[in-house]
Amino acid sequence: MGLRLPTMLKDAGLTALVAAALGIFIVGFHTVDVGSRTGLSFDYQFGDLGVALVVIFFGRLGLSLAAEGLRWPAIALGAAMIAVGASPLRLPSSFLHWFVVLGGVLLVIRAAWPSATHAISSFAKTPTGRVVDHLGNQWAGWLLLTLAVVLPFTPMADQKTMDLGVLILTYVMLGWGLNIVVGLAGLLDLGYVAFYAVGAYSYALLSTQHGLGFWAVLPLAGMMAASFGVLLGFPVLRLRGDYLAIVTLGFGEIIRLVILNWVDLTSGPAGIGSIPGPTLFGAVFAETAPTGKQTVAEMLGIPFNSNHRLIYLYYIILVLALITNLFTQRMRRLPVGRAWEALREDETACKALGINPTNTKLTAFAIGAMFAGFAGSFFAAKQRFISPESFTFIESAIILAIVVLGGMGSQVGVVLAAVLLIGLPEWFRELGNYRMLAFGLAMVMIMVFRPRGLIAHREPSIRLHPVKARGSG
């Protein structure tokens, strides 16, 4: 049954031919600037093109094999490609190594996909599987938490990793905050970064102009952002779906433009610099303390290390993010949390049950904004310099993408998505120009294979019958 080998070979050859036609001008030639007198000239890269075409030929052949159900030959082909790509063999450019490995990995995934998903779904239906699934949802969280707590003590914890860790955790916290508004209450907010900016500028201004410390300003920044949340909430209460998204988008831009143009207060595009970092019981993280203060190294009697500041920041954002998470988990089990979810599901039915949609939406907006405010003042304390450029629409889009890719309403999903979305582009830096291509590919893959987000499972906020293992499945 099915296609024969000659047909598959012909098909693979045809694919390679099409790729050759498309790629000859993109990959085969590139222009070289040879100086002002002669202008541009051509350089040829037929080696690269040739290798790429061979990969495409075998890749297509492997896909045909996999489609015919010949799983093992396809996996073998994929493994061979990975081996070639990872071998010390000299290919014309370093990117081709990545290309070959990536092709091999995709091929193996494609070949193993049907049987893997089948095995997982049939296992999940057994009683043991259901318990494992249930526990897995809880254990995944604990595993991630343990990893996050011990990370600074592992040998991996160099400055680069810690910087990335702080960055990822900031986005995890923002994702969890936005999850309240978008994931639970179902209000599509495209201007979330506005509250982040309010928090950041609250801390920057209060610390540089009034000399307040990080810990004193943190709750103030949260309250400030929350009141902006209510301010935005009021006019948009009647709007739903797309209309709400557009108005919140506009609100985000308004905040940014106000910051940009209110030069007297915010010093506009020049930004605010020399913002003090967070202190530990009044001690500062610096090599030499300003007059009247103590450095942390002196207080603890340890030698100064510039990494200490980063580790301290890491733990602050970890704790802030965990507070966000615990708060949200708790709220979900309270009447107001259930009302948020009910509002997402059906606003009309909520009204008929006597739930005040105005108050419910406003609390969601205010609480979501409050956490963005916390994250914002942390951001200002970490960066020590903020300007309106840090609060553009793309930030809102990234935070929203984290929530959506993670699976709306899923807390662990947000973590995974933040690691992918913030971590991957940093990883892919080695790919140079192809970085965003790989990033885009990863996003498309997630949406193809998990259209409802990485973790689409919704854990009930309360159960009448507790889950328990029934016999050995």
């Binding site: 709220m331 259930r338 009302a339 009910a342 009204k351 049950l353 006597g354 009930p460 309360i462």
Partner: protein
Amino acid sequence: MSEAAPLIEIEHLTMRFGGLVAVDDVSFIGRPREITAIIGPNGAGKTTVFNCITGFYRPTIGRLLLRGDRQYLLERMLGHEIGQQARVARTFQNIRLFPAMTVLENLLVAQHNKLMLASGYSVFGLLGLRRYRRAEEAAVELARAWLDRIGLVDAADRPAGELPYGAQRRLEIARAMCTEPCLLCLDEPAAGLNPRESAELNQLLVSIRDRDGIGVLLIEHDMSVVMSISNHVVVLDYGRKIAEGAPAVIQRDPAVIRAYLGTDEERLDG
């Protein structure tokens, strides 16, 4: 006619949408411990009457007086206040459950205002105080009692959207009842049910009337339901009330028969 004082008095209710008069000067009353059926052909304005009573529309003209724990003028209240204070609950023609939430959660959302108060607007709840925990346990007990009555205890932890159609209809009624209303408005609860489910529904509605002792307003097309369980029938046609009375009387009313089957000329027009 029973002697009980009216629970709801609808007086001269008129609802206009631009030039269209959906409900035209309709008056009737609903009594506690009675099922008042509102029937009429499609487009007669039945659901519009419900939407006025439950605050989804503001009537153009008319007075809607509800005698609950005190007197409420429903036409002056906002949508959610009618459920919260006047305790009027309703179901919808096209089922409106919270599909992704579990059956139990649906019933707890219905007890939102009571629980919200017990959780001190979330403050006590966040602190995990016993006062809130006890209130939640009581709410779960009420929900369990209703699940028992509609036969869905085993499905309590399943998403409501996964239930079969008939079960969703029953759940929506149970959810409305979990708000502990004094008046329940049911918009075509028997639509799409098979005869067995329809008979079960009849029993449920009769038990709500007799055991819970509340007033029920019922919009229904299924005449077997209307004739067997309602105490009083109001017939609407083109927004006007054309007849009112006991089910047996209504069945023989010439105006009603004309409205449902059409006059001879209309039948020729097809």
